[in-house]
Subunit: 353 residues, 2 copies
């Protein structure tokens, strides 16, 4: 084991502070990574504050971060895909059982034995739970390490590892979006990636937002049209016309208003998870044979495919780069959706701690 | 125009009584049909009692019935598919615009100009609204008339025209159910057809019911297993194992309990429409990438395909045959789900009125 600098919280109400954590030595299949950037995902905040205690209680100390980009510093003897100096990424998972039907189908995110990047029982026994990317270094099984295209801005690549795959996966699964009318509900960390991908897939992209002030930015990001969802006339004008809608809203909202936007056989996929149950009208689904789905990140194979796609289409997240010392302030702004569109922590700032 | 005997209601609270209605003379494309049997669908009751007033208010007098089987008595000069004496069926629709993308795609049930079999504006002007199958005779555009396989029991064929296609269509659309684990929620008019089709498609069929007393009958109808949904242990044992669930319940129920029964990428399709919004857990959809859909009857092409399938597999509805004079009593029993599994009106009984 070796010591690594990190930023952690010690309880649901305590602020982030510098800490030292233990990382395991690289085993045969491990890759040791110097972390360069780590995105801040809303899940980090929920976990740090134990807001998902009913489904996934938090073990403290907690080091969040699953939008990791870095450089390989060491590899185990059996590692074949990576070597020192390679640019790599790590997303929401660091291990799975590799043998269940779900893993065989490349959907490791649904493996019942998946190890998530933080707050997940650590099979290696280095600590009670895994520690994430708010750290100078991490050691990960090479099967969960992803090559990063050389042409992309690294700070903007980090959020691809969660926000990117979360939005890429359901759109890809829907089918060929070329020429289709695609809605993106909410223009935040997830939504802005949804817009970029939908545009790259050739869709006619429409952003639904409650903030008229986001119109210009939505168009800059690639949207063809923007609907202010609080304007009933604008909504009515587009009713029944969408093939697919990506719903990125994690707060309570009127889902039927968006189901009504769908045309025949249209689908709306949730990638945010509001706490309160959604009030779904059965009639709204029956008339037009519509469907409401959920989607959760993506498998490793698809994440590699997504990163390749981003390299070819020059897609990264729009980020605001912050030093690790500003995490607490960034969380306060995140709660107010005051970020365009993702915080990316420059981990060089951790060296001074 | 000509006079035809029928059974109608004159207000939301009045009982059915014998009446005389006008039917149009056959135009070039029309088929005149002597009605032999007409099934009683729950939609008939909702419409007769104006229970859907907010979305589809009822115009009185109202003659329901869209599960019609009969014999051709006359055809128009341009009718090519049918001749006098043919056994035919008519379902929920009698016309559409034939030109919109939805009609071109053989999904006339979603055509914005679809004419439904009853309580729908009558384009021919014979009456303010169309009159359905609780009648001795009906005149229908040949494009909405369906050939009935000769080997099937006619009283049991009638419900195929609505209950049959309503359950056949979503299962067919899901894909190949052969070897898949399929649940059917509720064992009524729709549910018992769902069981028969799922079995014929080669699925492992499991019925969810709140009534332990229905167990034996469910197995007789083709189910491999029966789960009493009020028994948490039985439910837990099957959690996460279903590929597809057909939900036929029109009353308020806990949809998340069934979403939790689905495995990865599983789908639950609603064919019943509870009035109250369904309380859907977003987490339940995200973890396992599940989907909730609605489905509404089926197009004419698919209804023909369904009838052919029933002919080949000898599938009909289990019916209780009643004379037209017992409609009021049948409605009272329908409200209590006291029928195995569909009432089929023997229209010969109308001759004595």
């Amino acid at each position: 084991m070796y010591q690594a600098k990190a930023y952690s919280v010690t309880s649901a109400s305590s602020p982030f502070a510098a800490a030292t954590i233990m990382r395991r030595e690289t085993t045969e299949r491990d890759v040791q990574i110097e972390i360069l950037y780590c995105g801040i995902c809303h899940s980090d905040l929920h976990t740090a504050r134990d807001e998902w205690s009913s489904v996934m209680p938090t073990t403290y100390p907690c080091v969040p971060g699953h939008e990791i980009v870095g450089r390989v510093t060491k590899v185990g003897s059996e590692v074949s895909q990576f070597k020192s100096g390679d640019l790599v990424g790590v997303g929401c998972m660091v291990d799975s059982d590799h043998v269940c039907p779900t893993c065989q189908d490349h959907q490791e995110q649904f493996c019942h034995s998946a190890t998530f990047t933080y707050n997940s029982p650590d099979k290696h026994g280095t600590a009670p739970v895994t520690y994430g990317g708010y750290s100078e270094s991490i050691v990960v099984d090479e099967r969960f390490v992803l090559a990063v295209p050389a042409n992309l801005d690294l700070a903007g690549v980090a959020p691809l590892l969660c926000a990117g795959i979360t939005t890429y996966s359901p759109m890809r699964r829907w089918g060929d979006l070329n020429g289709k009318k695609v809605g993106v509900v909410g223009l935040g960390g997830l939504g802005h990636m949804g817009v970029k991908f939908a545009r790259a897939f050739g869709a006619h992209v429409v952003v639904f937002t409650t903030s008229p002030g986001k119109k210009e930015d939505a168009l800059r990001l690639g949207a063809h049209e923007v609907i202010v969802s609080t304007n009933p006339a604008e909504m009515q004008q587009h009713a029944g016309t969408f093939n697919f809608i990506l719903d990125t809203i994690a707060a309570d909202h009127d889902i039927n208003a968006y189901i009504n936007m769908l045309g025949l056989d249209g689908n709306i996929t949730l990638v945010g998870a509001p706490d309160a149950p959604l009030q779904v009208s059965a009639f709204a689904l029956l008339f037009g044979r519509k469907s409401l789905s959920g989607s959760l990140i993506g498998g490793i194979k698809e994440t590699r495919e997504m990163l390749d796609f981003c390299g070819r289409h020059n897609i990264t997240s729009d980020v605001e780069i912050i030093p690790v010392q500003q995490i607490n302030a960034a969380y306060e702004r995140l709660v107010k959706s005051d970020v365009k569109y993702r915080f990316s922590i420059d981990m060089a700032s951790l060296k001074s701690e």
